[in-house]
C-alpha cells in the first residue's frame, strides 16, 4: 500500500512532466494566441528520438537529453516555418486547424516508421529507491525534478536577461507595438517554437523512461494534459502553466489513490471543465474584458459559396440511389455506407462548427452516446431497432447539449478545448460506468438493422436505408439554414457581441444548434451500432472527430452539400485507390493542411 507521501511525490513528478509541455504551450499562446495542438506530437517525436539514441546509439544520458532537445527543436522550427508562418494573415481558425493537421501527420509518420507496437525505453539510471519519510523516491524522479527546475531557471534567465527574451515578452504583450519598435516577430516565433519543442521533446523522453514504455497514443494524451495545465494556469501565463501542471499532477495522483487508475484522466478533464466554466481565463487571470470590435466577422474565411443547382443535387442523389441495382461490388456499397454514416456526422459538425462557429473537436462523443443508447434500448428493452435509433438521436441531442452547455460562454479556441475534453469525458464515463455500459468489454450481439419488422441484412438494403436517412437529415438542415434560425446561427458565429445586442441569446441558439446537430450525429451512431453489432468505448474516437472536421472543412464550413461531398471524397477516394489504412490518416492530415493553406473556404465555400 503506497503512502500519501508517495502519491504526493508521484503527483509532483508527473506535474513536472506536464509543466514541460504546458510551458511550451503557454509561450506559444503568449506570442501568437494559438493553442498548439501539435505539442503532443513533438513530445511523441522526442520519446522516439530518445529511444533511438538510448537503444540503438547507446548514448550516455546527458547526450541523450541534448540530442532529443535539439532534434525536437528542429521539428518545432520546421512546423513554425512551413506550417504556421504562411498562415499569419489568415483567418483566426486557420492556425488552430493547421496544428491539428500537423499533429496527425507527425503521429502517423512516427507510427509508420516505428510501428504502432509499444516499445520499452530503459531509463539509463540505477534502479534504486531512497527512503524519504514513509515514502520512496528514485533517481529518475530526481532527474525529472532536476530537468523541470533547470528548464524553469533557464527560461527565466532567457526571458528576463536576454534581448531575444525581452522581444518574446514584448510580443506577448502587444504584437503590433513590438513590430513597430523593430522586433522581428518571425524570429520571436521561431525562438518560442524552438524552445517549446525542445521542452516538449525532453518531456516525452522522460515520460517514456518513467513508465519504461512509449507508444503512439502518447501524443494526444500529452496534448490534452498540457492544454489542461495551461488553461488551468491561464492561457499564455508561463508561471501559471507551471503551477497548473503541478496542480493537475496532484489532482490526478490523489484521484488515482482514491478511485483507481482508470479514473486518472477523468479527473484531469473534470478539472479543466470546472476551470473553463468558473474562471475561463485561468486561476490567476485578472478580470475579463470585452474583445475588441472587429470590422467584419473574421473567424472563418469569407467566401461566396458555389451554388449547386437543385437538379444537380436531385440527379446525384438519384444516381447514388440506383447504384445497388447496377453490377457494383459489395465492397463499393460497403464503402459508401460508411460515407453516408460519416455524412450524417459531418452534417452535424458542419452545423455546429461551420454555421454557429463552435469548432468541436469531440464530436465523436455524440456518435458514442447515440450508439450506446440505441444499442441498449434494442438489446435490454427490446425496443424496435428503428425506434431505438431515433432514441439514440434524441439522447445525443439532449445529453450532448446538456454536456456542452457550460462552454456556451466560451469563444474561439476555448470551445475547441472544452469540446475535446467533454469528448474524452464521455469516453471515460463509458469505460468506467460498467453497470450500464459494460465497461471495457463493450456491447456485443446488437441486433441487425430492421424496419417495421423487416431485417435489413443485404448490403443494398442497408445502403438504401443509410442513404435515405442522410438525405432526409440533409434536407431538414438545408431548410433550417434558410429559416430565421440559419441567419441567427451565422450572426452569432460572425460576432456574438453584436448578436447579443440585438436580442439573440447565445445559450438559446447554441442549444438549438447542438440539439439539431446532436440528433443527426446520434442517429448516425445508432445506425452504426446496429450495423457493427459490437461497440466499445474506443469505437468512436478522437480520430473520427478530426476526420469529420476535415470533411467539413473540405466541403466548406456550414455547407450541407459540401459535408456530403466531403464524406464521399474522404471515405471513397482512399478506397478507390486502395490506400492502406495506416496511410489514410496521414492523407487526412495532409489534406487538412493543404486546405487550410490554399482553400480555407473548402470546395463549395463557407455558408
Amino acid at each position: 500500500m503506497a503512502s500519501w507521501l508517495d502519491y504526493t511525490i508521484n503527483g509532483l513528478i508527473v506535474g513536472n512532466v506536464y509543466a514541460l509541455v504546458a510551458v511550451g504551450l503557454a509561450l506559444i499562446f503568449g506570442v501568437s494566441r494559438l493553442i498548439n495542438f501539435a505539442q503532443g506530437s513533438i513530445y511523441l517525436v522526442g520519446a522516439y528520438i530518445g529511444w533511438v539514441a538510448v537503444v540503438q546509439l547507446h548514448t550516455p544520458l546527458p547526450l541523450t537529453i541534448i540530442v532529443v532537445a535539439v532534434a525536437a527543436a528542429i521539428v518545432g522550427l520546421i512546423i513554425e516555418r512551413f506550417g504556421l508562418r504562411p498562415l499569419q494573415n489568415s483567418v483566426r481558425i486557420a492556425p488552430l486547424l493547421a496544428t491539428i493537421g500537423i499533429s496527425f501527420v507527425l503521429d502517423q509518420l512516427v507510427m509508420l516508421t516505428f510501428s504502432p507496437n509499444p516499445r520499452a525505453l530503459p531509463s539509463q539510471l540505477p534502479d534504486v529507491r531512497f527512503q524519504v519519510g514513509n515514502g520512496t523516491i528514485g533517481p529518475l524522479d530526481l532527474l525529472i525534478a532536476g530537468v523541470g527546475i533547470t528548464s524553469a531557471l533557464l527560461l527565466f534567465v532567457f526571458l528576463r536577461y536576454t534581448k531575444l527574451g525581452w522581444a518574446v515578452r514584448a510580443t506577448a504583450q502587444d504584437r503590433d507595438a513590438a513590430m513597430q519598435m523593430g522586433v522581428d516577430v518571425n524570429r520571436v516565433n521561431q525562438a518560442v517554437f524552438g524552445i517549446a519543442a525542445a521542452l516538449g521533446g525532453v518531456s516525452g523522453m522522460l515520460v517514456g523512461m518513467y513508465y519504461n514504455q512509449i507508444d503512439t497514443a502518447m501524443s494526444l494524451q500529452a496534448t490534452l494534459k498540457g492544454v489542461v495545465a495551461e488553461v488551468v494556469g491561464g492561457a499564455g501565463n508561463v508561471p501559471g502553466a507551471v503551477v497548473g501542471s503541478l496542480l493537475l499532477g496532484l489532482v490526478e495522483s490523489y484521484g488515482v489513490a482514491v478511485f483507481g487508475t482508470s479514473y486518472r484522466n477523468l479527473f484531469a478533464f473534470l478539472l479543466l471543465v470546472v476551470v473553463l466554466v468558473l474562471r475561463p481565463n485561468g486561476l490567476f487571470a485578472s478580470a475579463r474584458q470585452a474583445p475588441p470590435e472587429p470590422l467584419t466577422g473574421t473567424f472563418i474565411a469569407p467566401s461566396r459559396p458555389v451554388r449547386i443547382p437543385r437538379w444537380a443535387s436531385v440527379l446525384a442523389v438519384g444516381g447514388f440511389a440506383i447504384l445497388p441495382l447496377l453490377p457494383v461490388s459489395f465492397y463499393v456499397l460497403q464503402t459508401l455506407i460508411n460515407a453516408w454514416l460519416l455524412g450524417m456526422l459531418a452534417l452535424s459538425l458542419t452545423l455546429v462548427a461551420g454555421t454557429v462557429g463552435q469548432v468541436s473537436l469531440g464530436h465523436a462523443a455524440l456518435l458514442a452516446i447515440g450508439a450506446y443508447t440505441a444499442a441498449l434500448l434494442s438489446l435490454t428493452f427490446s425496443v424496435p431497432v428503428g425506434l431505438a435509433i431515433i432514441g439514440g438521436g434524441l439522447m445525443s441531442a439532449a445529453l450532448g447539449t446538456l454536456l456542452i452547455s457550460p462552454s456556451f460562454r466560451l469563444r474561439g479556441h476555448y470551445v475547441s478545448i472544452a469540446t475535446l475534453a467533454i469528448g474524452e469525458i464521455v469516453s471515460l464515463v463509458i469505460l468506467n460506468w460498467e453497470s450500464v455500459t459494460r465497461g471495457p468489454i463493450g456491447i456485443s450481439g446488437i441486433p441487425p438493422l430492421s424496419l417495421f419488422g423487416y431485417d435489413l441484412i443485404s448490403p443494398s438494403s442497408v445502403y438504401w436505408f443509410s442513404l435515405a436517412v442522410m438525405v432526409v437529415l440533409a434536407l431538414l438542415q438545408g431548410r433550417l439554414l434558410t429559416s430565421h434560425l440559419g441567419r441567427s446561427f451565422r450572426a452569432i458565429r460572425d460576432d456574438d457581441i453584436a448578436a447579443r445586442a440585438y436580442g439573440l441569446s447565445l445559450n438559446r441558439y447554441k442549444s438549438l444548434a447542438f440539439i439539431f446537430g446532436g440528433f443527426a450525429a446520434g442517429v448516425s451512431g445508432g445506425i452504426a451500432a446496429h450495423l457493427y453489432s459490437y461497440i466499445n468505448h474506443e469505437t468512436f474516437n478522437t480520430q473520427q472527430s478530426i476526420l469529420a472536421l476535415t470533411v467539413v472543412i473540405l466541403g466548406g464550413l456550414g455547407n450541407v452539400v459540401g459535408a456530403v461531398l466531403g464524406s464521399v471524397a474522404l471515405v471513397g477516394l482512399p478506397e478507390v485507390f486502395r490506400i492502406a489504412a495506416e496511410y489514410r490518416i496521414l492523407i487526412y492530415g495532409i489534406v487538412l493542411l493543404l486546405l487550410v493553406r490554399f482553400r480555407p473556404q473548402g470546395l463549395l465555400g463557407t455558408i
Binding site: 470590422l295 466577422g297 433550417l480 430565421h484 457581441i497 442549444s511
Partner: protein, 282 residues
Amino acid sequence: MAEQHLPMLSLRGLTRRFGGLTAVDAIDLDLARGELISIIGPNGAGKTTLFNLVTGLDRPDAGTVSFAGQDITGLSPERLAGHGIARTFQLGRVFGNLSVMDNVLIGAHTRLRAVKPAVPAIGPLLELGLALLRPASVKAEEERLREEVKTILARFGERLLPRIEQPAYSLSYANRRRIEIARALALKPRLLLLDEPTAGMNPTETAEMQALVAELKAEGLTILLIEHKLEMVMRLSDRVIVMDEGKKIAEGPGEQVRSDPKVIEAYLGHGLSGKAEQESAA
C-alpha cells in the same frame, strides 16, 4: 400617462472602474422622450464605456440605469434589446458573412412573434419546430419583415438596396456603417444609441448621415449620440454633454458648452488653454 413624463433614459451615479482607472465616474443623465443628446469629449473620456453600461455589455460598479421609469441596471444585452434599446458600435460590428438583408433582419429579431412563441420551457423547441415546418403565419411574418427591411434600406438611397443580397464583408466601410444603422432601425427602437456614426466618412457621406439622423429625430426617436464632428453635434443636439476622464464636465445647449473654459481645457490640455487665454488677452 405618468410614464409619458418620465425620462426615457435616466442615469444616476453611474460608475465603472478598470483597476485603478475610473472610466465612468458618477455620471447623471436624463434623456427625455424625443430628445437628442450628444456626448462629446476627448478620446478615452469614457463615452463608449458609458454606452456599454447602458446596453448591458458591461456592468456598472455603482449607480443605476432606468429606462422609461424601469430599473434596468445590469440586465443582459439581449433583454435590453427586447426593451427596445438599439445601438451601433464605434468601429462597426456587422455580420461579415451575412447578406445586407440578413444583417438588417437580425435587427428585427426581437420583433419575431409567430416563429418565437412566448411559451416557457419548451419555447426554444417550438421555435426549432416552427422554423422547420414554417406554417403560413411564420411565412407571412418573414415576408412582412423582408418588405420592411427594404423600406429601411430605401432611406439610404441607392447605397444599400442594389447590394441587398451581397455579403456585408464585400461592402465599403461607409456602407457597413449604414448597415449597422439600418439594423438598429429594424429593431423599431424606443432609444437609439449611435457611437460615432460618421467616423471615417468623407464630407459627403457625413452630410448624408447627418441628414438621416436629423430625419430620425424629426420622427420623434430618442437618440443618444457620441460624435467627434462638432458641427454635426451643434446642428443636431438638443443638449450636449462633455465628458473628460470619466466625469461629466459640462452640460447644456451646444453654444454654451462650446465656450465653457473647462471644455476648452479638456480638449486643449491644461497648460495650453492657460497660454491661449493669455495670448488672446494680449
